[in-house]
């Protein structure tokens, strides 16, 4: 485990963008394929997906790998 960002910087960033209601990883992953195919019509849901991507580095990594694999523009 190398190059881990400073804990207080990560935590402050997460706390600042913490909301009462957020998508969890399970729901994010359920919606990921329709989102990548641009078939999520609800703008509020798209915004929740984007917020989760910013909050969760692991899901963000998954999106990044998929975008590369599928030849999509990076989200």
């Amino acid at each position: 485990m190398t190059a881990i960002p400073r804990a207080h910087e990560v935590l402050r960033g997460l706390l600042a963008s913490t909301r009462e209601h957020e998508l969890d990883c399970d729901r994010f992953l359920e919606l990921l394929a329709p989102w990548l195919d641009e078939r999520v019509d609800d703008p509020a849901l798209r915004e929740l997906l984007e917020h989760h991507r910013q909050q969760c580095p692991e899901c963000a990594e998954e999106v990044s790998i998929l975008a590369r694999a599928l030849g999509l523009a990076p989200k």
Partner: protein, 247 residues
């Protein structure tokens, strides 16, 4: 050894070898039989001269119906095409950095996972995109497990860097965060947030606790909300502690 239609040859992975040994056991459970139908060597060998039909677009229904129709005329070809697609997808997604052995094993595991989840495909996206998300998630899960399997929660927590660095953050603010973790969170929340800040993936935390990644995310979300409330009660929000930082 398995030989694909492209001539690519790779040794069978440990999981596959174990399952192949198990296949000789009478009364093999149904999931294993499905697995063998997917990965058995003859199922991976396309007849010579057969075109690469993976390049031919299929409808979502055609994909699903084909993969459900075990024993059907096109089943072997559908599985071989999906396997080729997943292998190319994983290779490209991981920037060609997977070893041939890993690529082969992860492709097989992905195929099995897709087959198990086939009934959950709802047609809200392309079948190939859906399959790719499962394959990448499957691969990341295995790679993260391997990387972190010997890292304990305490070890991970110790990796967290609480130094101030160049940030204009006062020691008092950092201390308030650390005190909040100790005082405002449950033991389970504290363990999880400290391990996550030390770099342990949520996926790995979930695997160890036998819960989903979403359950760990919810645990950490509750922890963040508690911690935020704690800091606001201390009056830290006005001092820039909770202002959104540029990413």
């Amino acid at each position: 050894m398995r030989r694909g239609r492209s001539g690519y040859t790779a040794p069978a992975g440990s999981l596959l070898r174990a399952l192949l040994r198990a296949s000789e056991t009478p009364g093999l459970p149904a999931p294993y039989l499905v697995f063998f139908e997917i990965v058995r060597p003859r199922g991976l060998t396309r007849p010579p001269g057969r075109p690469d039909t993976a390049a031919v677009p299929r409808s979502e229904e055609t994909w699903v119906d084909g993969l459900r129709a075990r024993g059907g005329a096109g089943y072997t070809e559908d599985v071989a095409d999906l396997r080729d697609y997943l292998q190319r997808t994983l290779a490209k997604g991981f920037n060609q950095k997977l070893t041939a052995q890993d690529l082969d094993d992860l492709t097989q595991e992905s195929l099995l996972r897709i087959h198990q989840k086939l009934d959950t495909f709802q047609g809200q996206c392309r079948f190939t995109t859906w399959a790719a998300t499962i394959a990448v998630n499957c691969a990341l899960s295995e790679l993260r497990r391997r990387r972190y399997q010997h890292v304990s929660l305490d070890d991970a927590a110790e990796q967290a860097d609480w130094s101030a660095g160049d940030e204009p953050t006062s020691e008092a603010q950092i201390e308030a965060l650390r005190r909040g973790i100790k005082e405002a969170l449950t033991e389970r929340q504290r363990e999880a947030i400290e391990a996550a800040l030390g770099g342990l993936p949520l996926m790995e935390l979930a695997r160890r606790q036998g819960v989903s990644q979403g359950a760990i995310y919810k645990l950490l979300h509750d922890a963040r909300r508690r911690l935020k409330g704690y800091l606001e009660a201390l009056g830290q929000s006005g001092g820039g502690m909770l202002q959104e930082t540029a990413s």
